[in-house]
Symmetry: C2
Subunit: 452 residues, 2 copies
């Protein structure tokens, strides 16, 4: 029987980083990855295969090379069962692999609501992390004039924008009042929605889908209000559920969302089995409640934690809850968020003060390519600690959102921002006298002091 010190099942972002970290920290151990496909996709890049990068072939993770460089073994195959007593994993091929430490990085799959009539019709698609599926889908979509995307989370929004850029007529349908309504506060969600509309996507919000209509192949979508939208294809992007068949079969505990229960070291209730990424349960960094947000960046942070803690625990390298830092871009406008929105913070019972400032991401604002930059901060009133932040700006939005993420993770307060030194440059940042992050913090401070 083949034997390995560390066995990682799955090799999207989480599996890749867990395996490489495990091998880096434990160079004398044998680290083996089992995955389904020869080529794995860059998960966040998937919407962009439909126009910007043109094909899945331009969206491949260089994981093979990374494993080779790191000295990680790679096996292509499907893990079918785990025998915890014998510490053996069975593959579909009949092969068995003995492990000392096991890392589950089995990912997630698109949700198809059970109640949704017509989801089985031809030309109804989801967006799985599967190259073969996506290649076939892209080929079929090429002949479709009218495409309806259902669900306006990040994937739905990005996919709509890309399919429009690829020349289709695209209608994005969302039950909530706005696109990205769970990710951003309303005013910012409206900005994203307006940007998406200005780029030619038809947006139908505040109305749910009743059924998908068709005869063999899809012909339209019936909305809850009785409207029928004609469609040659439908893409469902209404969420993902964790892939936990293996874990459940092995008798590992799962949480109320069905994800694998893990602690801050990413251990399951079996001390030799870790779980990371979309298949693993998440706790919100601020609210300490289970979080449904699945992000490759969170997955990688979890994977680093698991990789480091496999053979001996490090009290300072734990995963202390997901901050849900994410960003997207529509054309040259970036939208980013970290931690809690104002709406969410209030729903969760926090007494918050917010500050918002809109400036320009270059200075002077006359510079070519200058873009408005807005920062909103959500701050605990009694603690002054930053609970969340939102950014709308140009293409530096992602890194600015990461700065806010760092501030949240390190539980910094408004004073830490107000006394912060920042570097500025005309072509690269806002002005030092009008840097929106600092001005937003100043706004919070003024409110707290009762000055406005």
């Amino acid at each position: 029987m083949r034997s390995t010190d560390v066995l990682v099942i799955g090799s999207s972002a989480a599996g890749l980083v867990a395996a490489v970290t495990a091998k880096t920290v434990n160079p004398d151990k044998v680290v083996t990855v089992v995955r389904l496909e020869e080529a794995t996709l860059v998960p966040c890049g998937i919407p962009y295969v439909f126009s910007t990068v043109e094909t899945t072939d331009n969206n491949i993770m260089p994981s093979g090379k990374m494993f080779e460089n790191a000295g990680v073994e790679l096996v292509i195959g499907r893990a079918t069962a785990i025998d915890r007593e014998r510490k053996v994993c069975s593959l579909e091929s009949g092969e068995e692999m003995q492990y000392d430490k096991l890392v589950l990085a089995t990912g997630s799959s698109p949700v198809i609501p059970g109640w949704l009539k017509g989801a089985e019709l031809d030309n109804v698609f989801t967006v799985p992390k599967n190259k073969v599926y996506l290649d076939a889908m892209q080929e079929k979509l090429a002949d479709c004039a009218n495409i309806i995307v259902i669900g306006a989370g990040f994937i739905g929004v990005e996919l709509s924008d890309e399919l429009k850029a690829a020349g289709h007529n695209v209608t994005l349908v969302e039950r909530l009042p706005h696109v990205l309504a769970l990710a951003f506060d309303e005013d910012i969600a409206i900005r994203a929605e307006d940007t998406l509309k200005s780029r030619g996507v038809t947006v139908r919000t505040g109305v749910g889908v009743k059924e998908i209509q068709g005869n063999g192949s899809v012909t339209g979508v019936l909305l809850e209000n009785g409207d029928v939208l004609e469609a040659d294809a439908v893409v469902l992007s209404v969420g993902y559920s964790p892939n936990t068949e293996l874990a459940v079969q092995a008798g590992l505990a799962v949480d109320q969302r069905g994800a694998i229960d893990v602690d801050e070291y990413m251990r399951t209730d079996d001390p030799d089995i870790f779980a990371v990424g979309d298949c693993a349960g998440k706790t919100d960094f601020v609210t300490r409640k289970p979080s449904p947000v699945m992000l490759a960046s969170t997955a990688c942070a979890e994977a680093r934690t698991a990789g480091i803690n496999l053979f001996k625990l490090s009290v300072i390298k734990t995963f202390s809850g997901t901050i849900s830092i994410f960003a997207t871009a529509l054309g040259d406008t970036g939208f980013g968020v970290a931690g809690l929105t104002e709406t969410r913070a209030k729903e969760e019972g926090f007494d918050v003060v917010t500050g918002m400032f809109e400036g320009v991401d270059k200075h002077p604002g006359t510079l070519p390519g200058a873009h408005k930059q807005m920062v909103k901060l959500i701050v605990g009133r009694e603690s002054n600690v930053i609970l969340g932040g939102e950014v709308v700006g140009g293409l530096s939005t992602g890194e600015l959102t990461n700065l806010i993420g760092f501030i949240i993770q390190n539980r910094m307060d408004v004073n830490a921002i107000l006394s912060a030194q920042i570097g500025t440059h005309p072509l690269l940042t806002a002005s030092p006298a009008g840097y929106p992050l600092l001005k937003a913090a100043g706004m919070v401070s003024k409110k707290s002091l009762g000055l406005i």
Copy 2:
């Protein structure tokens, strides 16, 4: 006699922010700014008036409007003397102004080395923060084919790039081995130098200037090695010295560099007089030595500190030394640095470990506009604390450098980076599995553990 609670002398970045902060924190106080000119320039934008924004008129700070919005009084005039006993400032107009608190934000002026023969010739320029001077200079430069820029700090590099873009033949002369040699470690300075050369600027490094030659107007520059470079104009960018005439006249203490002595609240040795920006002394955040680095961003941080602490001190809103966070861009390549370089850290006696990683600032790297992104971290060996960082990347370099600045200012260590959550997006950041900041930290960790 006119009377004001707060008098701010000067209104470039430091004066502007000090005045607005003072008024914000003390809405009931009268805050007055005295400055020389009707229009003040965005200081960091000055190099860009020569091509990118075309004219100084496109590089004006909206300070008048900011003062009006904040309720700050503005007086155009020149302060000529301070009577500390009477707490009165005299203006050139003969007017006197009574103050309770005084903030000196008198800035800096270009250095013309006393030994440099020929500096008085026609068509020899410096780069002062003075619209009238720069407008005249720009008009005269329009007729000059060959321009020599002396001094390859940030201003010299940016100006050379802009003058080249404006159609001139530009030669940049630097005594040190590379451009930006004091700002960056050698390998990174070489990248900047190569980028500048590829954009058409002729670079002569490792050789000083002996004299400027000419007869009435400049004709050439004699180098220390005997070479003569033909020139229709010369621009000196060899540094700035603090404007401290007023402070010296008033008997305030100055430091060994000639800048006004200040404490962490930005107070001079007169408790009612504060100094901020280029005229104020600086202490390096890490080395605790006097620092010669003058930056608008540092000035604004000092100004916020002064504005907050004028009437009552805040122990948590102090200025704890300059981190020297800056960035520049040459075309679509950004160069950023925060804190100590490796060279400087070693010179100062720190035992350091460094980590460097080069990835791509979008993911997959096939995305249009993807740019290499390199991060280098300089870390104290015994403390694991981040002492400095350098970035070469695309246009998100400024904000990524700011994130490193935050890490330095908050004395975070390698573990804080390794356990950090970052957000990623294909169009906005590096991949979560190859985010250069985290990978560079990982490299430091591996070295520290003896794994490489």
